[in-house]
Assembly symmetry: C2
Homo-oligomer: 514 residues x 2
Amino acid sequence: MNDQTRSISRTGGRAARRAARATALPEHLRPVRPGLEGGWLKPLTQEGVERIHHAALDALERIGLADAPQSGIDYLTAAGCILGDDGRIRFPRALVEDTLAKANRSVTLFSRDGRTDLDLSGKRVHYGTAGAAVHMVDVDGREYRDSTVQDLHDAARICENLENIHFVQRPMVCRDILDNREMDLNTIYACCSGTFKHVGTSFTDPSYVAPAMELLHMIAGGEDKWRERPFVSNSNCFVVPPMKFATESCQVMEECIKAGMPVLLLSAGMAGATAPSTVAGAIVQAVAECLAGLVYVNAVKPGAPAVFGTWPFGLDLRTGAMTVGSGEQALLTAGCAQMHHFYDLPGGAAAGASDSKLPDMQAGWEQMCSNVMAGLSGLNMVYEAAGMHSSLLGFCHESLILGDDLIGQALRCVRGIEVTDETLAVDQIAEVCLGGSGHYLGTDQTLGRMQADYVYPTLGDRTSPKEWVERGKPDLIEKAVARKNRILAERSPARFDAALDAEIRKRFNIHLSS
Amino acid sequence: MNDQTRSISRTGGRAARRAARATALPEHLRPVRPGLEGGWLKPLTQEGVERIHHAALDALERIGLADAPQSGIDYLTAAGCILGDDGRIRFPRALVEDTLAKANRSVTLFSRDGRTDLDLSGKRVHYGTAGAAVHMVDVDGREYRDSTVQDLHDAARICENLENIHFVQRPMVCRDILDNREMDLNTIYACCSGTFKHVGTSFTDPSYVAPAMELLHMIAGGEDKWRERPFVSNSNCFVVPPMKFATESCQVMEECIKAGMPVLLLSAGMAGATAPSTVAGAIVQAVAECLAGLVYVNAVKPGAPAVFGTWPFGLDLRTGAMTVGSGEQALLTAGCAQMHHFYDLPGGAAAGASDSKLPDMQAGWEQMCSNVMAGLSGLNMVYEAAGMHSSLLGFCHESLILGDDLIGQALRCVRGIEVTDETLAVDQIAEVCLGGSGHYLGTDQTLGRMQADYVYPTLGDRTSPKEWVERGKPDLIEKAVARKNRILAERSPARFDAALDAEIRKRFNIHLSS
């Protein structure tokens, strides 16, 4: 690279800027959007995929899962599982294959306003937050403090404003609400009054599902409306890896299914601690556990909407600490996405979280590594994609905002390279070189595609060193703080209307001020 | 994810730490190393690859390249090219195909000590620096200042210490040396006295090649030794896109080839300015230009070692400013790697550079995005992979050091997922679950693979928030500064012995103090 190639016509630049201002692109021409199709990153060979599948079937048949609740034992044995003398439930291969053939593969996760529904089919990619941090990261003071319901509500409001955050699974625990039932209900209130996008929550007790449903029916305008378009799903850590059902979470799951709420079958093993240390082995176990979950869900209600949530995490084996920002994590997640496609099931896994305490360079490289690989592998639901630090212990609003740029870039990669006569551009090359201007900056082809083809960062800096100095050397984090303040200064459009809000507050102890 | 899954046995953690201390892994078992094979990321379909190939052949036949020096016209017409009345040299399809069949596809880029030779074959991946920044980024003062020969030498010394930096193409221009001839000679001195790794340079004038060879023969211990293992290659910006030869650079290239120096055929178009704005079109033009270069090289000397350097860059079309940190950039580079594999030619492209001014979160996500995609696509030479900021205008030592962690992680992804009976681990799962300890932390399988399978960051932080506070909230950049100071406090092992150094200094005006 030399300086010769760096200078370009400023005239062309002005023409391009004019064109940009004059054009407003329709939605379908936006350079990136939710649900772009990935799938052209394949860390596993076809043989590898099949070996993992067979290993998972083996594990289900030979080892099975312990600790199902009595209701689960009843559902599963009725479906054809075998309860062993050791209390473990084993899954005959044919039963798993039958379930796979019949499972719901056209899950839609609804938004509240119908504008950002998520179609979880094929290799369509969506990015969003997930939980559950117990700390709020304060970038100004470089402090970790307990996260609150207000932090959660603010996160939802910020997500509502970020184009590349497609769903809002509750990223933080409301630690200022000590009663678990109240916390679960306020979690729903705080998220849904902050965003219209699809919300994910996680109930801590089966008995909280009924009052939550009451709240959700009120928000939806009736049970029928809720059941038609359930805009909240439940994240079920239905297993305690390795190969044990999480008894209470299974009971929560049963309640959710009956209430028409989609469930995320979340298996969060840690490679080297609660799952085998090898990437392939951790995937085998996660797949086996989620297949068990799938049989369970379909035994409760055939075709109930479920996301195949193989979420294996990494571990730093030197210290025994969880790690989520590593290359191993990116491989775990991308490999899982390939398994989802093998089964043609809506799937999700974790990517985009960082081990770093703050939104620094490490956070940037860790978040991009797994986010872009997850997207390229065609993962339907990329959970933990923005804002998450300290190996899931801390959530940061500024990082969430910067994540919007980061994910926009990842999505541009997912979109890939379009090859047509027009994009190959031989005629354009000929025109420019043979008697033309000698450059492409002002050509119709360039101006015509400059918005549809290119993603421009909102806060990412592309100035020259000179401009950067002239602008006072803007700091990335300070820009994110400013954007956060602008967003939170506006009234949330997702807030419930006054009458409904009053009714909700009469019925439930809502901690957010009205 | 809930807290339940996060706690693990501390006993197992201690056992793992003991095992780590007790084991020293042989080189071939290291989790990552230079030359790992990528290639399982394929942004183009096979049809897309072939269409780009045919489009490039079309462009060479119909449009050809202008501005070859007279020597080049002579070489190329003798080889079968056609000089048109418009002064453009056109390349018959059959000539390009013949060249492709005969070109050197087993290029080795040698190190000076034989320990880090680079085998550019197949889809083997190597990461390194490249040029040419004109500023040094000072992280303490957040300042951009002119880069100097000392900065360049320090960069080489730092690279010598970083495992995941595999070659050192001169990342900065020595702006304190005003005479171009002296600058070129001191660039070689500063790099080679700082590192044993393969060095890349770029001559500004054909007449500087002869004295540079004199210097290199002295360093090598004779011309025969130099020609046997040339440890410096030349980066030739042999074209001024679109489709024009860079007259002087072509003359430099001819001199290098004659002197036994490998060349990098570098075509650095900017999509939307000096190349078509579409990703596919920019690749077509870069491929066409590099094919022209390949014919040229092989016309000068059949089989001369050359790297197919399709380096298309991105542009921010709103402002006309170059951008290198975008998703489009990652696609340009990964698509180019696929073309190199189609031709089975040693290839290189740019990835890992950032538009950000400082090593902040943006720098992290931009550097990882293109670096990991370049590696996954199996690019032989990933140039600009570390330390580069401000769209190639600024180089930063601290960022270079952090890049070692970042690239280590990218390489772990390149290594991929190993699927064997052992890694699938069904027997291990059975053992752990059926009467075993219930976790994997202390198993022989985990302990046996904890170093061979996992990459541990050197400076990346994985502490808990509590530990992080106890350690005084260490700052990533400050840790990089400390590592830089430690490296630069040591005497460079790559320095020439005193007698040779004196001889060199007698013959040349060396600016670095001895």
